[in-house]
């Protein structure tokens, strides 16, 4: 019997478990597809990285840490654009979403944002003791409530819901950009954003609500991608989207609590 015939008859190995075709089929069916469990694990890992770097920047304050935090924020911003893309009104996608970049950019994003969050949180805590615990707790409380509402079907994200949230998020983003430009030229801030008046607090409440509703879209991305058997890297993409919204929600809740405490 020639080698070719022998291979055809018995395969490369007699053991069916390690026979190449059987092994490869198993790998492709179980490893290539996204799962809910995988997305949860990646979210936990990203949260761990963020908390670790936030702890470092909280404990080692100084000019060097400020520089590291600024670099971290920039790295996080670039990672976000490389993964989620950049959309602008009337122009369309300036940078298209590239979810396949997420396995590389998600850990950088988590680490970078951790540094800046640690710095912001430490400064908030020095003015208002106990505020960080309250903000973290409220963030998880809001996220869990919305997750429960999503999983049970109380909140159903539709096309109109998505457009509404997207428009509101863009509106907030543009307001922040306008405020930044205004403060650069005049040296003062928009009181509607930074003040502690009723309108400013109402604005913060609205922003917190929009940030929280963005979580529903993230849950839907993760759920639907897992359902449709999306590629494995979508686990990282979903985790990164969820982390980005959680970080935004945390910062907005922190800002709201600071406004309330300063009255």
């Amino acid at each position: 019997m020639s080698q070719h015939q022998a291979l055809n008859k018995f395969g490369r190995s007699g053991n069916p478990i390690i026979r190449s075709a059987a092994f490869q089929n198993k790998v492709s069916s179980s490893e290539e597809k996204m799962s809910l469990e995988g997305a949860v694990n990646k979210t936990s890992f990203m949260l761990f990285l963020t908390v670790m770097t936030a702890t470092i920047s909280w404990n080692f304050q100084g000019p060097l840490m400020s520089i590291i935090s600024a670099i971290g924020a920039l790295a996080g911003f670039i990672s976000g654009i490389m993964t989620f893309g950049f959309y602008f009104f009337f122009v369309g996608w300036i940078v298209k979403p590239r979810p396949h970049n997420a396995p590389r950019t998600a850990p950088i994003y988590a680490i970078g944002m951790g540094f800046i969050i640690g710095l912001i949180s430490q400064q908030a805590e020095s003015f208002y003791p106990g505020i960080v615990i309250q903000a973290v707790s409220l963030t998880f409380f809001v996220a869990t409530s919305l997750l429960l509402a999503y999983k049970t079907g109380i909140i159903k994200p539709t096309q109109n819901f998505m457009l509404m949230i997207f428009a509101a998020t863009m509106g907030i983003f543009l307001t922040y950009i306008a405020s930044l430009i205004y403060s650069l030229f005049t040296g003062s801030h928009f009181l509607i954003i930074t003040g502690n008046g009723n309108i400013s607090i109402l604005f913060s409440v609205v922003v917190v609500c929009i940030a929280a509703l963005n979580l529903v879209l993230d849950f839907d991305i993760i759920e639907q991608s897992a359902e449709q058997g999306a590629p494995k890297y979508m686990e990282w993409f979903g985790a990164m989207a969820l982390m980005a919204t959680l970080i935004w929600l945390y910062i907005e809740i922190l800002r709201l609590l600071m406004k309330l405490r300063s009255r």
Binding site: S20, P97, S137, F140, T152, P157
Partner: protein, 67 residues
């Protein structure tokens, strides 16, 4: 530490555990079986991996030459 902070901290820990626990479960059929769902794959382009490696391995097996 005030009682409010302590109470909120406790709620936060419980919420965080519940959040990661619930995230693992599939959504109810009320959520998944409806016609007006957002079609995320039309907004987020999945780059499907080409099964080149598997094909190459299989072709390695079949293109074994007799001596």
């Amino acid at each position: 530490m005030s009682y409010l902070t302590l109470f909120l901290g406790l709620i936060g820990i419980l919420s965080a555990f519940l959040f990661f626990y619930l995230l693992k479960f599939k959504a109810s059929s009320k959520q998944t079986n409806r016609g007006n769902r957002i079609r995320w794959n039309s907004y987020i382009p999945y780059k499907e991996k080409k099964p080149n490696k598997v094909k190459n391995k299989e072709s390695e097996d079949t293109s074994f030459k007799d001596n």
